[in-house]
Amino acid sequence: MSAGAPSYSVQLDREAFNNPEKWYVRHIWRQIAERRAQKIPKDHIKLLTLPGVECFDIRLLNEYGLIKTTASGFDPDGLAFCEEVPERFTRISNLLPNARRFRGTYESLIGVGRASYTGTADRWFPFDVINLDFSGPGFKQPDRSTSKTAEALLKTFRLQKAKKGSFSFFLTLPADPYMNDVSGKSELEKCLRDNLHQNENDFSQLFYSKYPQIRGNSRPAYKTMHYSDFLLITVPKIIIKYGSTEWFRVECTKKMTYVGEGHTTRMVSFCFECEYIGLLEGYGKSPRMDELKKGYVQNVMKIMIEPNLDINTYLDSRKETRKELSRIRDEARELFGKRLNESSATALRTLQNAC
């Protein structure tokens, strides 16, 4: 094995993604995916995801009939995933017969660092729902000289734009404690500075007045700020800007943070609705610039106004919901290793109205 390859334990991996907080997030994803399904002419969504070893997100969407299945598995045009770790990749493949699969990171799937997209990405895109549930912290890490995450996010919009595909976008990042050092934050801060370019002077003033602590390395608050808070502030703005650049009206509908039961790492999760408003009917018509501009300002203002949802606090105040989610977690254990198209998981559906 290569020296740098991480060791992998199925036992640990299974439990890592099976906790009440994560199930709450999954049900929010499910609700958004349902809304997306209503917007598209097809009966099922086309999903790209980075699933955990038990594919709980897919399992849940499948239970709600959002993903197209066949007698022998899944429709390859309805479901795609990528995974780098060989054993995890194989275990996921075993659960999802005929789904499109890519053995490698998301960044390598879409060709980060390359001038063009990969052939695979070109064939696979666009998607109706993209769920980037990263297990790595994203952005700058101590052992990496450059970050590929930002480029990956931008390229995602470019690929969707090339196929004129509106989509719902879920992004989850772990705010590992070691990311509290300055390097990750400074990269994000730079990202944000680039993001807030000259045309947004008024806007950037407003933004920095609301978040004074993230401006400039000299500020003590910047250094002591938790990486998760930093992500919650910067990522939505960056995503909205990336989307706008590529003719998407992007709205951040959820900003969530949680620490999964039995874990120490704080997770940060976002949901975005990305509507393509570029050229729709050939070259004759100009893109809807006004609509894009208006939407951009509104949506960025919204992320500054709307509070973040701390799922732990929320569930502490709703004992019944927590209990229900804990039961889902327990019943999900019964599904470990079982193929999705051959086993029913109706128990997962019980949390219908709690989100």
């Binding site: 290569s2 060791s7 036992q11 075993n94 053995r103 193929r339």
Partner: protein, 519 residues
Amino acid sequence: MKMRVGAEILKNLSSGIYSNPGNTIKELINNSYDADATDVTVRARPEFDTISITDNGFGMNEEEFKNNFTIVSRSRKRDAGLLTPNLHRPIIGKIGIGFISALQICDEATFVSKKAGEILKLEANVDFGKFKGVMAKKADFQDISDVRYRVVAEDRDAHYTMVIMTKLTRNFKELLLDKDLKGIDIINFDGLTFEQVMDQIDRKIESKELEDFGKEKGLKAIGQYWQMLLQIANAVPVPYLRDGPVKKPDNYPVIRHLRKEIDSLGFDVDFDGIHLKKPLRFPNVSEISKKRRDYDVYPFTKKCKFEDKSVLRFHGYLFNQRKSILPTQFRGIVIRIKHVAIGGFFPDFLDYPYSEKLYLPWTSGEIEVEEGLEDAMNINRNTFDITHPHYRELRIYLHALLHTKVFVKARERYDRRKEERKKLEEEEREQRMKDLTLRRFGHLFRVFYSEELDPQNAIDIQVNNRKLIIYRHHAIFRRNKQRRGMVEEILLLFETAFRLGSRDARKLRQIFYEELERW
């Protein structure tokens, strides 16, 4: 002086040992069987970038991995006996080259294995690509690949093995994507179960769609991927289809036994979500299966003893139907040792020597060898050493059965069908003649065949008696024996036109042409 072996031989053995890439996957599935697995999961579609094989067998630990992978071709599977430790299955593997056959289809493989009751699992990476490069440059080598491994903590109760083949060879990938079949319609079986695919193949055969391809291209119309699947399904120890291998299988004790044996192994192979079954279901078209006399099943069991005290025991069946078996790949005899097919179907029935080759495409069958023959198997596990006494005995028995039973009945059926067809044709011809007389003379004539020798006319139309007499032994019929029916009808047309033409050549011609056109 010593005789030595060149290093190239290892390359030849490992990279070209199996005649097609499906055999490599078959061998890896057989490895899972030998590891007492009950479930094997294979994933290849839709991208064919990676092929993974996962089983729930007893797995391998670090020490076993070292022993098995340090010296290729030294199989230790049989060190502890001829049966597997848990399920007591007869062990298939013998030579010890199953795993390295993977290099025929890929440049890199990851191997993950965990034994029950141990706290560590093994992860190994085998870089065949490096090996291939070395081989291209120099012939002498000791290392066959770069193997790196480590042990990692895992659930104590877990037991499994995964073989993940990446960097698949371009040729293999293109083959499975049917790049070689440009211009041929590939039937789309996406999303169907194995049973549904078999039903669809049978329907295509029934509607003659597959037969058209069958004549020239065999099973190509179903594409390389499904060809590979059917080949693997036929070769590995998976159960029969519900109504296979022959109609009403429980009517034949030997076939019932075959089914029971294979079911008792409890071995399931999920290949891209398709649970493989033995794809044999004779007769597979309703045209044949509706009439019991259109096919026959010949079950058999046999035991032979040899001078060296070795024993050959086998059982099976032969199936023969009144027309060619389709798909073409299922014609011939398949021989299984320990439930695993050696090669595919042998369409020439182990070089059948008699001049009855007409009946071979109508025949199929399976032989399950319970004891013996294994030593006659060549290293590629696809063919036999034809000089081996077990093979020779089996061949003699098979040929005798075909010659003295199967083809005797086939010939009878053929002759009977020929007679029936002839009779039917004559009835139809007679009806056509009657129709003609009714149309032209306004009355229905009776048709008589006269035995009179060499009369003046071949056909006599007696209008007054409303009789139509055909003189069978007229020289014109004798000279045209093969086309007698046709000549009869043409002559009748001519005679009718002649009678109605009233010596008017133009009218005769007109009537003759009209009737000829109608005919």
